[in-house]
């Protein structure tokens, strides 16, 4: 219970701070947003714009109004097309969630066996080779990989040419369209997760309870997967949570490069078009998701390691 209370407090602090930072940046810019948005408008139009956007109110009142609206699900409207930001977000969110989820699953599906295997074979040539490959993967920026993949696999060899299709509109097309973005986003994660798991797993394999498990005469596979993996996956979880912010940054780049109509695309537009209400709302949303994801990982922590329940309640 105390953990939940602490996380809730964190949620509130992080969301308020995060949105306030964006808000403060907007104000720090000075000048008149109306000039930026409708540069050729008349003075009257600008005044009307400022009134509509509550831009003439004191700063804290403006922030308070925005926060109040946000909490009621009203994320404001875009300056130029006057669309509800919440509608845009509703349309874009599934794309980003799919992208991140698929990439995460793909990364773990490769990283976990690779981490277990290299830890078991630590110090051998195979281990060194896999580590070198992982290191190379880690060093390929998403932007570079996206360009290489889209040139060879879609422009030149024409293997993946389908643009994004929603899941409901056909599974095979959906997968076709998602392969390159998902691979691009997953590659960097694979290496991070694999290296983390490997180093924790090597430490675990030297524990007495592993020798004990071995001395029971059970199979190697069982020793590795049933005995060693679970206690070795705690750092992985923590980092997966902390990494979520990086993952979103990666997703934004990938969405822009592969023209996926997700939150990243919206954010990119908000930044380029200087749409503060949209930017602020999306940042708030991401901050909430970030804290919630970390909270869920914390909960998973407790499931994975029964000792933590007691340690945490004692602390």
């Amino acid at each position: 219970m105390r953990l939940i209370a602490r996380r809730l407090l964190q949620l509130v602090v992080v969301v308020i701070l995060a949105t306030f930072i964006v808000f403060a940046l907007q104000k720090a810019r000075g000048g008149d947003p109306a000039t930026a948005v409708i540069p050729f408008g008349s003075a009257q139009q600008r005044a009307q714009f400022n009134k509509d956007q509550h831009l003439s109110d004191p700063y804290f009142v403006q922030y308070g109004k925005w926060l109040g609206n946000f909490l009621q699900g009203d994320m404001g409207k875009t300056y130029n097309t006057n669309q509800d930001v919440s509608d845009l977000v509703k349309d874009a969110a599934p794309v980003s969630i799919q992208l991140i989820l698929y990439a995460q699953v793909l990364a773990l599906l490769i990283a976990i066996p690779a981490g277990v295997f290299t830890a078991y074979r630590a110090g051998t040539k195979t281990d060194a080779a896999i580590n070198a490959i992982a290191f190379g993967l880690l060093s390929i920026p998403a932007i570079v990989l996206a360009l290489v993949l889209s040139y060879y696999l879609s422009a030149k060899w024409k293997i993946f040419t389908t643009p994004y299709v929603p899941l409901g509109a056909g599974l095979s097309e959906h997968i076709q369209g998602m392969v390159l973005p998902v691979v691009t986003l997953a590659v960097g994660q694979i290496a991070v997760y694999m290296r983390l798991l490997r180093s924790d797993m090597i430490a675990t394999l030297q524990e007495d309870f592993i020798t004990m498990a071995k001395s029971k005469g059970i199979s190697n596979q069982r020793v590795l997967w049933r005995h060693a993996l679970r206690p070795s996956s705690l750092t992985l979880l923590t980092v997966a949570g902390l990494n979520f912010g990086t993952l979103i940054s990666g997703a934004i780049i990938v969405e822009v490069l592969f023209s996926l109509p997700g939150i990243g695309q919206l954010l990119a537009n908000a930044i380029v078009q200087v749409q503060y209400p949209m930017l602020q709302s999306i940042v708030a949303l991401i901050a909430i998701v970030y804290v919630v994801v970390n909270f869920l990982l914390d909960a998973l922590y407790v499931v994975i390691d029964p000792r933590i329940r007691h340690a945490r309640s004692a602390a």
Binding site: D208, F209, T211, K214, G217, R222, P231, R307
Partner: protein, 388 residues
């Protein structure tokens, strides 16, 4: 059951290895050597150990930490990792050479024929697995039985190692049990498949003093009921005193003295054994009696000095000890062997001791107070290490 288990299926007679002889010693260890390849050189952790263990008997292996006793027991069982480790010598279990077997072949022995109990149940039980699972695991793997029957067996085992409310404990995690209960659980795990040979590696060192005797008694009862052979590894002669049939004292990877328990305590020949015996507190000593400690620390295993490995710390040491390593010499009692040029309780030993004491007295008068002996410093900072 899955085909994985078929390999381990019991045949009709109930014996796993139907051709295994019922006569002869259970375990014969001959000239076992185990070295670790380290960046600084090869460390000989076990250097030529031989012994024979009869069925139903207990061998105590005693030595300080670093003497190689833990490596020896893991080496015999074949539990050490392969990389950077060189293992030589022969281990014969029920007439079969097992030291050259691959881990996949050893799996038929591990758990089923021989099992191990570790020093600290806190680290040797998997912290994230329920106790019941850890017991049923080897049952399910080695025996062709159903999950529910394995659970019944596990509950019965927990009862037999005197864990109260076994059914409830099966669903708990190791950290929810007390230290003594945890060690009982590891005993239950080790005993699950009815092994013929049990290695107990410092089974009570990590436990509260009040619990130590209970756990040792439990082990002894189980051994008698099951006619098991036990190798009891410890740093504490007191632990093996009333419980082992035979005791081997290890120092720097070698057996330096081996004898039936009574003989070892009454006719010890090796000065190291004597020092160990004198470091056991006695009940009839007045309280606050200073215990004898052994000054210095065990030698480096990478580049050990020539001669007797104990020479630098020995009260009886002579020039010969520093140059020539003594072989294992048989004593007067059958089964008694020791490595010493100037054995305790013999005229040579007595003469050596007197000579050293005379020289020490001369040296003390000659030397000034400023030239304090460096070994004295080593002795004080190594004394806490004695107990671990």
């Amino acid at each position: 059951m899955s085909p994985r288990h078929a390999r381990h299926k019991l045949d009709e007679s109930g014996a796993r290895f139907p051709d295994a002889p019922l006569e002869g010693p259970l375990l014969e260890v001959d000239d076992v050597k185990t070295s670790f390849v380290t960046p600084t050189g090869t460390a000989k952790a076990v250097d030529g150990v031989s012994f024979t263990l009869e069925r139903g008997r207990t061998l105590g292996i005693v030595g300080e930490s670093g003497s190689g006793k833990t490596v020896l027991s893991r080496s015999i069982m074949g539990l050490l990792p392969k990389r950077n480790i060189v293992r030589e010598g022969s281990v014969i279990f029920e007439g079969r050479e097992i030291s050259k077997l691959r881990p996949s072949e050893m799996r038929a022995y591990w758990g089923a024929q021989m099992a191990m109990i570790f020093q600290d149940p806190m680290t040797s039980l998997n912290p994230v697995m329920k106790v019941g699972r850890q017991i049923t695991e080897s049952l399910l793997y080695h025996l062709d039985i159903s999950r529910s029957y394995a659970r019944e067996l596990a509950e019965a085992l927990m009862g037999s190692v005197r864990i109260p409310e076994p059914a409830k404990r099966l669903n708990e995690y190791p950290h929810q049990l007390s230290g003594g209960m945890r060690q009982r659980v590891s005993i239950a795990i080790a005993l699950a498949c009815g092994p013929k040979l049990l290695f107990a590696d410092e089974p009570t060192t990590a436990l509260d003093v009040t619990v130590q005797a209970q756990v040792l008694d439990l082990l002894q009862t189980q051994q008698r009921e099951r006619f098991m052979s036990v190798v009891l590894v410890t740093h504490d002669l007191g632990v093996v005193a009333g419980r082992a049939d035979e005791i081997a004292v290890m120092y720097a990877g070698r057996i330096v003295e081996k004898a039936p328990t009574r003989t070892l305590f009454h006719e010890m020949r090796m000065p190291y054994t004597e020092a160990l015996v004198h470091s056991i507190p006695k009940i009839d000593d007045p309280s606050h009696t200073r215990l004898d400690t052994i000054p210095g620390r065990p030698p480096s295993l990478v580049n050990p000095p020539p001669g007797c490995k104990f020479a630098p710390r020995c009260r009886y040491v002579q020039d010969k000890c520093r140059d020539e390593e003594p072989p294992l010499i048989p004593g007067s009692t059958p089964g008694h062997e020791f490595r010493c040029w100037f054995p305790v309780g013999t005229p040579q030993g007595q003469a050596a001791l007197e000579r050293n004491e005379r020289e020490a007295a001369l040296g003390a008068t000659a030397a000034t107070a400023a030239t304090a002996e460096p070994t004295a410093v080593a002795a004080t900072d190594s004394s806490p290490g004695q107990g671990s």
